[in-house]
């Protein structure tokens, strides 16, 4: 069972890489050449590997965010907005130090996500829609902030001033890598522990698989929804906070850069398993840095990384049942409830 799931994930990754390499023919490069650039540009040197790990950190956290939500049957597509909310929260709290900034990013992400769960409980608004819409609001809110109240003192670019040095995440040794990687790995282990070693996690997963049966077994499914959404949002928020505190040190437009959406690909490739997310975040991190190298040396746009993500998602959806059922259940139940069918009693 587990072997099969891992095999499917490896297959999906391999198919994505193979298609990417073959697509190079269109640009006049041999697949073998592209493949070697991708590999050397992502894991081929110490420098490349550091770049890959740096990219993996936010991917790991947004991936975990999606894992927790989908496991609970909550269709949170709002990683992007929660990522931005977390970064904004961290920025505002940065003057009180690093710990305060990290806490603020968790909280801000959780609150942003909870707007969607509040609307779900209050008016049964499907979170698959509300979370996406909240992304747009967050993007424009950040855009306004860096062009207005939070713009740098010199007023030159649409970006904020840098955060105080005391709030920045320390780097590890002489590398570019920052301490956020430790936080992210701890978060992955914590998410695994929550889902598979606590009674709360058991109930969360039960609610995700079958809301009705969970309810009859005495589980408060609404509470599970609220909790899962908040934890999921906190993870995405932490991703944004760490990116700010460890890498960019300032806010600017397009800060999220697709990390929130990429989290869906990370989670699906990980078969919605928190520890699998470690490997899949690394894979997508490598894909992203490798694609950067492709752009520099072969002149192929680095957006091919998104192409790779899409291939992976498609392969995973076609070959794994858990992903398919996770995909239809929450939205399906919401839709039928709106039409007054007695799906839930």
């Amino acid at each position: 069972m587990n072997v099969r799931r891992i095999a499917v994930a490896v297959l999906a990754a391999a198919v994505a890489i193979a298609l990417l390499a073959v697509s190079g023919i269109a640009f006049g490069h041999s697949p073998r050449e592209l493949l070697s650039i991708l590999i050397s540009g992502s894991v081929g040197s110490n420098f490349a590997l550091q770049g890959t790990l740096l990219k993996s950190i936010p991917l790991l956290l947004t991936g975990l965010s999606v894992v927790i939500a989908f496991r609970a049957g909550v269709w949170n597509i709002g990683g992007e907005g929660q990522f931005l909310a977390g970064a904004l929260g961290a920025f505002l709290a940065a003057r009180y130090g690093m710990i305060a900034a990290i806490a603020a990013s968790l909280l801000a992400g959780a609150i942003w996500a909870s707007i969607a769960s509040a609307m779900r409980l209050w008016r049964n608004a499907p979170e698959v829609l509300t979370t996406i819409l909240l992304n747009f609001i967050a993007i424009h809110l950040l855009g306004y902030a860096v062009n207005g109240p939070l713009q740098e003192a010199s007023g030159k670019y649409p970006q904020s001033d840098a955060i105080p040095i005391a709030a920045m995440l320390p780097t590890l040794g002489a590398s570019e890598l920052h301490a956020g990687i430790i936080l992210a790995i701890v978060a992955a282990i914590a998410a695994w522990f929550l889902l598979y070693r606590t009674a709360e996690g058991l109930r969360l997963r039960a609610s995700g698989f079958n809301r009705n049966a969970a309810k009859w077994a005495g589980i408060n499914v609404d509470a599970q929804l609220v909790r899962a959404m908040a934890i999921s949002g906190a993870m995405a928020g932490l991703a944004g906070g760490i990116e700010l505190l460890g890498v960019t040190h300032r806010l600017f437009e397009r800060f999220a850069a697709g990390y929130g959406y990429a989290g869906i690909a990370v989670a699906l490739l990980a078969q919605l398993h928190p520890l699998g997310t470690l490997a899949s975040a690394f894979f997508f991190g490598a894909l992203t840095t490798g694609a950067g190298e492709l752009q520099r040396t072969a002149g192929i746009s680095s957006t091919v990384a998104t192409f790779g993500q899409a291939i992976v998602i498609l392969v995973m959806i076609v070959f794994t049942r858990s992903v398919r059922s996770a995909g239809v259940s929450p939205a399906g139940v919401a839709a039928s409830r709106r039409h007054g069918r007695a799906e839930e009693s």
């Binding site: 070693r197 109930r203 997963r205 079958n210 009705n212 309810k215 009859w216 858990s322 009693s345």
Partner: protein, 425 residues
Amino acid sequence: MRLSHITKSFGANKAVDDVTLDFKPGEIVGLVGENGAGKTTLMSIAAGELAPDEGAIEDRESVGIVHQHFLLVNEFTIAENLALSMWGRDPAEVIRDSGIDLRGFHRRVADLSVGEKSKLELIKAIAGRPRFLILDEPTSVLAPAEARELFDVMRRLAADGVTVIFISHKIPEVLEVATRIVVMRRGRIIVDGGAMSAEQLAEAMVEKRSPQTERRRPAGWTAGGSPALKRNELEVHRGEIVSIIGVAGNGQSELAANLRDTLRGHVAHIPEDRARDGLIAEMTIAENIALAEPRWNPRAAARRAAELIERFDIRAQSPLQRAGSLSGGNQQKVILARELERQPEIIVAAEPTRGLDIEATRFVHDELRVAAARGAAILLITSDLDEAFTLGDAIHVIYRGALSARLTPGEAAERAPVLMAGIGA
């Protein structure tokens, strides 16, 4: 049209057992019987929707059928719904020809009353000019005036030579409109005839059960005291099993859901719809059993599940087997194991043996008896009258959401048919 020696089984259950019926043009046949008597199955066979295992339909005619549940597209208008089954015909004309009063065919079905929806279903069925029209519980959602209107339509069709089959639980209506009454019980025809009194019909419909004579009481059991479960006229004391019986759809599911949402304390629930509400199919047996536990430890849960598999004789390979891969009866045993092992003070069991074989049914009954003997208050909501009488210390009949007075099994055996059919008080 003639149904000749029709037999149809689902698994071990003979839904229709060697039924032969002759229909004449212009008849209105009232087809009545308890739940699961085989009425709907027989009519699905007549309509050609189900193939019989044995027997044949002779002189088959064009059949129209109105199902118990609406088969309409809510987002479409009346006209659009009609167009789905008769493309190209003018909806206004179709409605006019049917002689049924349904106005505003540009209204969306979602905005119609249930009465209007059932009219639309009827229009759909008779627009194809069938010679044989089956109406499955058409009046269950209708107001009396609407039912009257429906009867006029039925009589008019019959006058045109159509054979109308009217499936119903409502004895007064059957007596009012039917020219011939067929009573089914356990897949067989019990009565086929004309005029009869309401009491005769009720008795023919619902088999008399002899009340159970002895039941072991738990040690130290005493009558009276304050009930463990109390809802209006419903009272269940410790050590007691109270059965709720009635025709399906009279509020049993709502009662169970209400008790699930409102009862506090040490309560076990056995849900009616096992496939939807019973187990988390994707999770293991161990996980399912541990769902309501305060703590979760995979190893301890697996050990505990292994014990329960042994004790409840669940046919499973391992506690780590997916619950969804078990057979229906074994799934039910897992639910029982989970719910009863918590030593609940109150047990609400809805249809606990539906679809189980004899051995599994006996097992479930024994478990419920043991729980009662231990002192649990048990509410048994069931459509299986044998079960209700075998286990129940007291019986309520539920009809249109209201419970009858508390009856002793002896009283219930006498009065259940009439109360279930909603005639007389």
